[in-house]
């Protein structure tokens, strides 16, 4: 049975901010991107570093559309592990380096003034 946990109030995180919380012994990164919240496990798939404490910014990408030159995309949506730099797209949990690696995402609900995580 899932339980809802209040983890923040709606004015606590501004767009672009995040915080790391502990719920039922599990460390979780709560990110606010625009008006949406996302929650990811605070553990990197590489060597288990504290992923969600890393820098949040854009990803450098290159493809035919950029004529194979580097281009910033997903600004404010990518977290980079502070240990070795593995990058993850926060809204999807997708790892940018390895297509087969995708983090689980926790359900986040905003009800009134309360931001809740469902576990």
């Amino acid at each position: 049975m899932s339980t809802e946990y209040i983890v923040a109030h709606s004015d606590e995180l501004q767009p672009g901010q995040r915080k790391v919380i502990k719920v039922r012994g599990i460390e979780i990164g709560l990110f606010r991107i625009g008006d949406e919240y996302h929650a990811l496990p605070n553990i990197c798939t590489h060597q288990f570093g504290p992923l969600c404490a890393g820098k949040v910014g854009p990803a450098i990408m290159a493809d035919e559309n950029s004529n194979w030159g580097p281009e910033f995309r997903y600004d404010g949506e990518v977290v980079c592990c502070p240990w070795h730099g593995l990058e993850f797209h926060v809204p999807t949990g997708q790892c940018l380096a390895f297509p087969e690696t995708r983090l689980r995402k926790y359900t986040v609900k905003v009800e009134g003034d309360e931001v809740k995580i469902v576990l």
Binding site: A59, P70, V78, C80, P82, W83
Partner: protein
């Protein structure tokens, strides 16, 4: 009733980390350097600096190209982790967090000391470094040890420093810098260093660092991104130095000398072993000091794990270790606190037997450096002078 055997965990495994780094700033070494060189170090107070960019404290090689704006894109990681350890207390605390029991300290800036053109300066810096380690890093029971820098610029001085510290229980090896080195470490002029190391029962550690000098490995300066350089620079340097030592017969002429290769990962080792054996069919006469396949001598070398390769299938790396017979010669290294450090779990979690885990994480290092004092917690499990 059958008792259930407890599974081995990192916390109950002796972890000897053969490669951690102390931040050897000019300010830190100033009190320990000869008076005539002190003003040189004091001048560095006014020099703006970035991560490890005072290589050897030399104006000639201080800027690593790959770190300059415009050469490579800035890392998205930014400065989210401080990759520097300033004190013994900080080192002890941070190694404790990773369940690392014993740490062997290498320098930061002086990884590149071989690039200094002025031998007198290199001499003064290495002397100061050793005094600094002794005074500020080796505290009672902190399980931190160091290595003696052998400066290639002045072999007699390198030997003097080995003799000065060779009986100190906290110096457990001799560091042979491999970056910007000319000639390579097999050159006969370095024989006195090997003779001294063997005489004091100290292993030698070849430690790589990314460099792009005009000597070997050539052409690396043509890469346009740091990832290309960093993928092979260390391994190429190790291959070059190992071949150089093989061609002058260092492991034959110094049979009791233990030799360890650091900071180049593991996957290059089977490649080189197989290549030299293949060449030996046709060209044995060029290496007449070997009376069997050269790989028999490479088998005796030690290899530090970091930066450990992390294949999708972990078994692949286990197979690599098997191919070079590395169960007794592979030693864990984290390279803490550098940007590409490995957490002990990256090696401990390999699918090998518990005996092999204990060997690679600590017991092999005790064999490599027998003067390491086994921490109290493990004295019942690991006996001084015995191997698993």
């Amino acid at each position: 009733m059958a008792t259930r055997t407890k599974r081995l965990t990192l916390n109950d495994t002796l972890v000897v980390d053969v490669d951690v780094h102390a931040h050897d700033t000019p300010e830190a070494l100033t009190p320990y350097i000869d008076a005539e060189w002190r003003p040189v170090l004091e001048k560095f107070r006014d020099v703006p600096r970035r991560y490890l960019d005072l290589g050897g404290y030399s104006a000639y090689n201080s800027i690593q190209g790959a770190k300059l704006p415009g050469v490579s894109l800035p890392s998205p990681r930014g400065n989210s982790r401080i990759e520097i350890v300033y004190t013994a207390e900080q080192m002890r605390r941070e190694l404790d967090d990773f369940s690392i029991d014993v740490g062997i300290i290498f320098p930061d800036h002086h990884l590149r000391i071989a690039g200094l053109p002025n031998a007198n300066y290199a001499k003064a810096l290495s002397r100061a470094y050793h005094h600094w380690l002794k005074e500020e890093w080796f505290h009672e029971d902190n399980d931190l040890y160091g290595v003696i820098i052998a400066i290639p610029q002045d072999v007699e001085e390198a030997v003097r420093e080995i003799e000065r510290w060779g009986n100190d229980e906290r110096f457990v090896g001799v560091f042979l810098p491999t970056c910007e080195m000319y000639p390579l470490w097999g050159h006969r002029k370095f024989d006195p260093i090997y003779e001294a190391a063997q005489r004091y029962d100290l292993p030698v550690f070849l430690h790589a660092v990314a460099g792009m000098s005009s000597g070997f490995p050539y052409n690396l300066e043509a890469f346009t991104t740091a990832i290309s350089t960093h993928t092979i620079a260390h391994s190429f340097a190790m291959m070059a130095h190992m071949l150089s030592m093989m061609e002058t017969g260092v492991p034959v002429r110094y049979p009791d000398l233990r030799i360890c290769f650091c900071e180049a990962g593991l996957t290059w080792v089977p490649f080189l072993r197989m290549r030299v054996d293949k060449e030996f069919n046709e060209n044995r006469y060029q290496w007449p000091h070997f009376n069997d396949r050269p790989s028999k001598w490479i088998k005796k070398f030690y290899f530090a794990t970091q930066p450990v390769e992390e294949p999708e299938n972990k078994q692949d790396l286990v197979d690599i270790i098997r191919i070079y017979d590395g169960d007794d010669t592979t030693v864990f290294a984290s390279d803490w606190p550098h940007h590409d450090f490995d957490h002990p779990r990256a090696v401990f979690d390999l699918p090998v037997s518990e005996v092999s885990k204990r060997k690679i994480m600590g017991a092999n290092a005790l064999k490599l450096m027998p003067r390491i004092k086994i921490p109290v917690k493990y004295q019942d499990v690991y006996k001084q002078g015995e191997t698993l």
